[in-house]
């Protein structure tokens, strides 16, 4: 795998070990500009750890993480700060600042990194909230919102600083099918309209199949399969088959082959 100027993200032989346990065992991963890549795997497979290494929130034990041509793996927290503005992260439980209103959450990064007049910040916040389909909730606190709304506010906050890449950690987990569908459509639309590169970590097979351009399957810290959603569906890799079978809607009797 060589560095390519079309790669927004390039991960080479990434190892992450902690507490004597190796969570990622030499992962290679890439995402081209404008691509939606899914990372599929069971809980504990290391998919969120991979996402956090890409985000620069965890320091890899070994390997390289190139974000738009810069290897962030050896950088200090201070050196990574300006690079973080290129990435937006949507956390699994939204991670909204719970003592701030929706408005303050979305405006938080803008107030600190952009020298903008108050009215301009207000305009951007309103626009980002409109993008994610939320209007008139600016004055509410996160505790007053539903799970789906919180995730959308988290997305609006991540989009406030115009990132080139957005990382999604389990965007649909804990949501009902209607809300999950809306989030998926939102990811798809932002990708098509703004050209955002998106990495979606999920164990929600349905969601990944309908949103992504390409899926990598991770198991026990290693990439076991990679391809288009269609190719993954046809994959003969036993781990992938087992994962898909268990996620299917067949009844337990059917799955057991009775």
């Amino acid at each position: 795998m060589k560095t390519n100027s079309t790669d927004a993200i390039l991960v080479k032989s990434l190892v992450y070990a902690v507490n004597g346990t190796t969570i990622l065992k030499g992962v290679d991963f890439r995402a081209a500009y404008g691509e939606i890549v899914g990372i599929m795997g069971a809980s504990g497979s290391g998919k969120t750890t991979l996402l956090k290494c890409i985000a620069g929130l965890l320091r890899p034990t070994a390997g390289e993480v190139w974000i738009e041509g810069v290897n962030i793996a050896p950088l200090s927290e201070r050196e990574k700060m300006p690079l973080r503005l290129r990435l937006g992260i949507v956390f699994q439980y939204a991670a909204l600042f719970d003592y701030m209103t929706v408005y303050e959450n979305v405006a938080f990064g803008l107030e600190r990194h952009r020298r903008l007049p108050r009215s301009e910040i207000a305009r951007i916040v309103k626009e980002r909230l409109a993008w994610v389909g939320l209007e008139g909730v600016e004055h509410l606190y996160p505790s007053q919102l539903s799970g789906g709304m919180r995730k959308r506010v988290g997305l609006a906050r991540a989009l406030a600083l115009d990132p080139h890449i957005v990382l999604f950690d389990e965007p649909t987990s804990g949501l009902d099918p209607v809300n999950a569908y809306q989030i998926d459509r939102l990811i798809h639309r932002l990708n098509r309209e703004l050209g955002l590169t998106a990495v979606v970590v999920s164990h929600d097979v349905t969601s990944l199949f309908r949103t992504t351009d390409r899926i990598v399957v991770i198991d026990s810290g290693q990439i076991v399969e990679e391809g288009t959603p269609e190719a993954i569906r046809q994959s003969e890799h036993p781990k992938v088959q087992a994962f898909l079978r268990m996620a299917s809607t067949e009844s337990l009797e059917e799955q057991a082959g009775i």
Partner: protein, 265 residues
Amino acid sequence: MREELVWQDEEAPQRASVAGVVLEFIGGLTLLLVASVRGLLAGRKEWREMLHQMAFIGATSAPIVVLTSAFTGAVITLYSASLLVRVGGGSFVGGATALAMARELAPILTGIMVTARCGSAIAAQLGTMKITEQIDALRALAVSPVQYLVVPRLIAGLLMFPLLGAIANFAGVLGGGVVATAFEISPFTYLRSIQLFVEPFDFIGGLIKTLVFALIIIMVSCHQGLSARGGAVGVGHATTRAVVLSMVLVFIANYFLADALFARR
């Protein structure tokens, strides 16, 4: 500088040895302190957060500091007066109370009360932010948690502690004065005694102590909060540890400060 070490230990090794735990604590605290001092000297100041914390640590702690100090001053006077008046030493009572308050009780009571009220709250808030990924969200938005959360609390603590210490002194002496009148020591005698036996440095030394206590309590509480892990139980543990460690370190520091400030005078 590996300042991220402070909050990157989500799955850090559970060291079995006591020495390992102690070293990890000292190491983490030192790293946080260095990062905070750097943030204090340079970098964006979070004025709003700082004012908020000043109100929380200072203004809302004042009533409880006043109450505890007044009763402590009163009880010191109760004992010293009942003893001294019997041997005709009523004119020593004011000095005894004021000296005890200025050198020891005002700083220590301030430390204990603020630890109980604010140290615990700081650890709980930062701990909750840690386990709900809000700390990571700050970092993802390119905002340093040290700059945004620790530095404002440290500045607020360093500004408000001496003020609370001074208020505690005043309340203690006042509380003692009220009790003194019950032993037929006039306010004039009481104040005259303070004038005779208490030097300005006793008061200033006490305030210097509160500065050191502020540093200990705020840094320990922030450190425990930021290194919390493992859900609601983890936040509970972090809060308990913040209070216990702050108190123990305050009492240890108090001995050495007393030795350095007052023992050789």
